[in-house]
Symmetry: C2
């Protein structure tokens, strides 16, 4: 079993423990058998959430949980502006892109204004998976190659094509024969001051290996903050030589912004902007419409013009007036509440608070992050050696102290702290307090 | 260019004609350049819809159009119950399937109650494409084969895997090397009283061809009403020998119910039930949540149990409390307004009205359908020869008479009549009147 499936298993409910749950939860968990066994629940004692507001969620008993994990309700659980926009548009009209509608045009223009000029076209889908599925096809079409490079713990989606480029789903999911992986750019353990150069060397090795197998290089698909690899944001700029190398080798650079996009990193609207690069395609999803299914792909017009000569594209639900209204309201909230600056400032406080709250324990070897995307390495004290079992215990203890976080990274030991962007200074205090207590109870 | 791309082109707006549009529409169409050229607009004069209610939509000038085409707003444009359900749930909580929530359990149980007992598990996705993408992987995994058979004008979705099984997207989209097609089961032109036997012969031929190429047969993916092939519902039961053959050959039968499902055919909740068959997997989408992105795959537990031993599956937005609330409200509307019976009765009246309204013209050679899914063959009078150009003109004329329909079938000549299920007896009269006048003006 891969580390990541391991993580999922160990941080998720197992039917073996059903006897330990209270009767009403036992009943709910049993009823889930209609969903089949592909589904997973978080926590040894699953959460039955019934209400959410801002950065807090409440379970059926009324317990208040601080949400430091969920990045979809980016402008807050049950954000009123988004609710109102959806209600209004659903009551007015909801159709598809084969009729003209202002919502998609207004939103497309508005969203593209946040991007470099070269990225001047945008298409809409329902999920990040669908966005990456199309972006990879574009890279293959334009390059004339098949070979895609991702990182070793990457997750990019669940379609057949994208599952084959998502090693972190688990060891049993076959990787595409034409894809290659580079190791996690682990700035904590790799002894290099030049992580970009290190990545370029690894990518060059893999392109050579592709060549040896008669596979033409098509491009790379990278989440620029390397979320599932363990969160590696620093030093901003390290992706610059990577993009240049990819282009020199005739490939395309796809920035998977499903996680770092929409102000998450606090430094820029898009994660790639921190690195000063211009990708060929940018895919986006999760927080885009605060929970209404909506995703997109921004692309240089030269690329999509070429593709469109041969291929049409239609996506039934995507770009609908309702999805676009939800996305537009989310964007308005990001701006009016100045959540980029807030993510920058309060994210820095959260990071500092994690450092301080964990100092005495010696269990957290590295805290890194940008804005509201923070990774904290749970290690054997005094070493960089990952301590996955302790990390799993810590996540469960945090839950007992009513704070939601999760894990990531190739060793399954990195605390993933990725709250809604409305996370407040008070929330930082609650978080730090729960972390300190949890560490003490290990 | 394939017939179907031809249809799309000819029934869609071309930038060459932009000068013929009024200035405000010209402006809107120009602004669409940010979306890139993969998108298409219906009609030579595109529609700018701004409002919808029941089976009617209204353009920016206030013109009332009868919607005889859109199957997503199945319980009516802007259905109040669905709006209320979404507003309520969005205001309460929206998360994902890794926490316990009643909405997904209630809906899953409720929806499975409409199915044969053998189909006892259900999973949720965001789009029909995603549902088919997973179903095909399941068929391939369980059968140990790769070879999928579809019909020659099939459309099953837009992911990389499913595009390769959707010949109707166009001749430039490469079909999967391991897939095979059978011709459209054209009950109007084929001289056979046994269309099921005819299909079995064609399928057997293709399985033999697969074998010759070292490809193991995995199964079939059929839309049971053959929507994009031209709508072939009769005689109900003809798919029985097909399912038996598929099983004898070690394959799985995937029923793509994105179009015939959810009471559309008037005979049964699901299209496959008209045929008295039990598929191995059933995929669904479009009308499921009346426009909120939501799709699903029902499956026999033996199949998903086997798959789940190796593969987990997670879909960020799918099965969320909001999506499930929308789907549950849609299901409640279907039941309480008795839309199955209504589709049966009023669908029959609509079909009869089309026969009568077109009799004098001699232009409609065959009218066939089940419930609110009707296909009408536009032919050269006195012959079965398809008349595509006339069909395109007819669709444009119907639009001038404020009725929305479209085209399908391998020859692009079949009028596709597929209204919201709340289409009324008055709507039937409006439709028949517009059809008669349009035919007269040809």
């Amino acid at each position: 079993m891969s580390e990541n499936v391991g993580i999922l298993e160990s941080n998720s409910f197992s039917m073996k423990n059903i006897g330990e749950l209270d009767p009403s939860m036992q009943e709910l968990v049993r009823r889930r058998s209609v969903l089949g066994p592909c589904y997973r629940l978080f926590y040894q004692r699953p959460l039955h959430l019934v209400r959410g507001v801002g950065s807090h969620v409440f379970d059926a008993d009324g317990t208040d949980y601080l949400d430091a994990y969920n990045n979809i309700p980016s402008v807050g659980h049950c954000n009123q502006r988004v609710v109102d926009a959806v209600t209004h548009q659903m009551s007015t009209l909801n159709t598809h892109t084969r009729y003209v509608h202002e919502n998609i045009l207004d939103y497309a223009e508005d969203l593209l204004s946040t991007m470099p000029d070269e990225l001047d076209n945008i298409m809409f889908m329902c999920s990040g998976s669908e966005a990456n599925d199309l972006a990879v096809r574009l890279a293959q079409f334009i390059s004339g190659g098949e070979g895609i490079i991702v990182t070793k713990e990457a997750y990019h989606g669940n379609t057949a094509l994208i599952s084959g480029l998502s090693p972190s789903i688990g060891p049993n999911v076959p990787m595409s024969p034409t894809m290659r992986m580079i190791p996690t750019p682990d700035t904590y353990r790799l002894e290099t001051g030049d992580i970009g150069g290190w990545m370029c060397d690894r990518i060059s090795e893999q392109i050579s290996d592709m060549r040896r197998h008669g596979i033409k290089f098509a491009g790379v698909l990278f989440d620029g903050i390397f979320s599932s690899d363990g969160v590696f944001p620093d030093d901003a700029g390290f992706l610059k030589p990577v993009v240049d190398l990819v282009h020199r080798e005739g490939g395309l650079y796809i920035a998977d912004e499903v996680q770092p996009g929409f102000c998450r990193t606090g430094d820029a609207f898009w994660g790639f902007q921190r690195h000063g690069i211009v990708p060929d395609m940018v895919t986006m999803g999760k927080p885009m419409a605060n929970g209404i299914p909506c995703s997109g792909m921004a692309v240089k017009h030269q690329i999509i013009d070429e593709y469109a000569r041969l291929y049409p594209y239609f996506n039934t639900f995507a770009g609908s007036p309702v999805a676009m209204a939800a996305a537009q309201a989310t964007l308005a909230e990001l701006r009016e509440k100045n959540l980029l600056q807030h993510a920058h400032d309060t994210g820095a406080h959260l990071k500092q608070a994690i450092v301080e709250a964990s100092a005495a324990s010696g269990r957290i070897g590295d805290v890194r992050g940008a804005g509201f995307f923070i990774g904290a390495e749970v290690v054997v004290p005094g070493a960089t050696r990952p301590d996955r079992l302790t990390a799993v215990k810590l996540v469960e203890l945090m839950r007992e102290h009513h704070v939601l976080v999760s894990l990531c990274g190739p060793f399954g030991n990195v605390l993933k702290v990725r709250p809604p962007l409305v996370f407040s200074e008070d929330d930082v205090d609650i978080f730090a307090n729960a972390l300190e207590r949890s560490l003490n109870e290990l």
